[in-house]
Subunit: 200 residues, 2 copies
């Protein structure tokens, strides 16, 4: 099963926090695939997050997330008005680093710490020095990881993921693809894993 | 707890089919409130269903619904291309009848049969003769119900519901409001009921 996540997406964090335990219970192999929602939203005619375009839905979303994080025991701090104006954050650098980290074994720790910094502490995870700090905490050499993440081999990988997500019909995050099926949203994580079990 | 549903919404049907059993388990009183999504979507700048405006999301939705109905054991037939062009159906007459039926005790049977006719059989539930047939099946006198549904007392009630839904922040269906909280989507039905239990 492919797990499509966007580092700016709090609902993606909900899945990133629990997907390993649920997949292990069912003995399903999961491929973590960071991608960018920006180009996919742009293709739908949106120049920002739909939650900024539709205020009623946006206001609801933050409250829904607050309740969901509480139910799952994940720390969350509701963004204040000023922080909200910065969303969605630019996640290109963090996503490129995630790709390197997933190859090298420190990726999931790094990804979860990026989400935590962003949604529990309101850190600016588009800032390279913040990313360097999180890389160090994930147990890897920040300078080396940052250099590798932007080299000619790694740079196109994020675009490739985003194009493939789009080709598969992905329009939001998180999404899960398995055996020709698309599932959207943390609420469908169990359904997607069950589908993987029943349609190997 | 208030249960806000739109008769054109398949996800509302998912909740209408199971809300009574779940509410009874938790001893929560539920007030069924039909409303119209049309005016609420129009206020967001949409002149039709968002699933028609965003094709990738729309294509996904029908497959998601098909899978969900199957999981819940509810009959569903994927609309063909021609049927799809008729969505969303005009639900004003059916919703006005639902209000009468909910007063008189045949409302839930009628509502579920409207949904079944619409999504399992592709009947045109904006058609008065189809509604008359469903009223008869629900055990009430069609002529009398149709007359009462459009009288001066009943007519404004649907608009009142829609305005109140909007005031409460409702932007989609189904929605649930309880103790100052809004929950959106059949996926949040259990959360909403649990909230009612914990915040009486």
């Amino acid at each position: 099963m492919d797990f499509w996540f966007e580092l700016a997406s709090p609902y993606s964090y909900l899945s990133a926090a629990r997907i390993d335990a649920l997949a292990e219970e069912r003995d399903v192999a999961v491929n973590w695939r960071p991608f960018l929602l920006g180009p996919i939203f742009a293709a739908q005619g949106w120049d920002t997050s739909p939650f900024r375009i539709y205020p009623a839905k946006g206001a609801y979303m933050w409250r829904d997330i607050e309740r969901r994080f509480a139910l799952r025991g994940l720390p969350f701090s509701v963004p204040d008005t000023e922080t909200l104006t910065k969303f969605p954050l630019n996640t290109v650098a963090a996503a490129r680093l995630s790709l390197i980290g997933l190859d090298e074994g420190w990726g999931k720790t790094f990804i979860r710490s990026v989400y935590h910094a962003e949604f529990a502490e309101h850190r600016d995870i588009s800032d390279i020095s913040m990313l360097a700090y999180l890389l160090d905490r994930a147990g890897t050499d920040p300078e080396q990881a940052l250099e590798r993440s932007t080299d000619a081999i790694n740079r196109p990988r994020l675009r490739t993921n985003t194009l493939e997500a789009s080709r598969l019909g992905v329009f939001g995050a998180p999404s899960f693809t398995v055996a020709g099926e698309l599932f959207w949203g943390d609420d469908r994580l169990e359904d997607a894993l069950d589908w993987a079990v029943n349609h190997e």
